[in-house]
Amino acid sequence: MRYSYHRPASLDEASDMAAALPNARFIQGGTDLMVRIGQGRERPGHLISLRRIGELTTIDANREIRIGAGATLSDTLAHPDIRRRLPALAQSLAALGSRQVRNMGTIGGNLCNASPAADTAPPLLVYDARVEIRNGRAIRCLPLAEFLLGPGKTALQAGEILVAIVVPDPPEGTGSAFIRRGRVTMDLAIASVAASVRLNGGASIAIRVAAGAVAPTPRRLTAAEAVATPTDDWSRAAIAAREQIEPITDLRASAEYRRHLTGILVRRALTMAAAASGQWSIDR
């Protein structure tokens, strides 16, 4: 027997277990962790399942949209408010894995796994999402950008539980989009980009760009945002984006290709976001 398995019914119980059990790991959908355990890359003594904790799976769409960390990727994708108010997030969920993986995997798990290529991260960064973390009986909040620290590394301390992702409602007139490119649909992204645009006649009011799989963490491309303008077909934004990433060469693509691709995806994502904002047309 490699590990024992625990199914607490509440967050308090889960926190207490984590404090008491040595070498314990929390498990949610298992689509990443079970693979790593199977490959012997991770050897927990105890798995503490968060699946029975109902409050982790609720999605509340009020003034802000609060997504329980344990909401499955399928349920998040199917939620009408997420499709309507956070379309770039919905697009990233539709592109993530297979139906089987989306039926098991959770949005919190996608963030806690902290892959540089995590598909939900670029749109959530663009939407200025923050995360709610349970530390024993206390709650702390962090901007998502401060939660993702490196490959496989988050700001979670031992025993802490990610409980929710909170997304402010994008202001009226905001358009957003997500694009990813991978070798095949099921594979991790070679590069992914999310953008959101709010325009006032051709002048930009607010622009956000974030990229995945081209740096140690998914990251906002603030330099690209600063120079982004529809009047040059987003060219300067694309150039600035290429300079603000730190791509690596791996089996999926070379660093040079990732840099090239990111420029193209930034331009396309901004074009799509501007079109979606309803203030600007693609073929003006």
Binding site: I27, G30, T31, M34, G97, Q100, V101, N103, M104
Partner: protein, 160 residues
Amino acid sequence: MRIPVRFELNGHAVEVEVAPDRTLLDLLRDTMGETGTKEGCREGECGACTVVVDGRAVNSCLFPAPEIDGTRVLTIEGLSCDHGRLSRVQQAFLDASGTQCGFCTPGMVMTAVAFLAENPAPMDTEIREALTGNLCRCTGYVQIVEAIQLAARRSRDPQA
């Protein structure tokens, strides 16, 4: 430590004990002796182990066995229990030649069953999207897509 679980397997109540580090795939094949569900990659990539839990297709190779407690599970064995008659999706795979070596077929069929319950009149592109998590290394997927279309047509018109 063994963990008692109670669940419904293909319409029958089951009560067994599972080792904590086993998966639903292990439980089905080794404990229940139901070997229609196949082990391919054990990494959630190939879909050969797909079963339907509470109406949703999942990779049983990544599903911790203790989590099966309280659920309803449908496997390939549960489709054709009606006196050996094949289910609609199975018959369509046969009629449309949607199978070659057959190893991926149970997973393909289970994905199709869950998908058609959600989308009874799909477009080909939607079927292909639904099959993203099921690999077949024999065919080009064309006949598999045709088989699922055939099953969909027959559910609307049994003479199709």
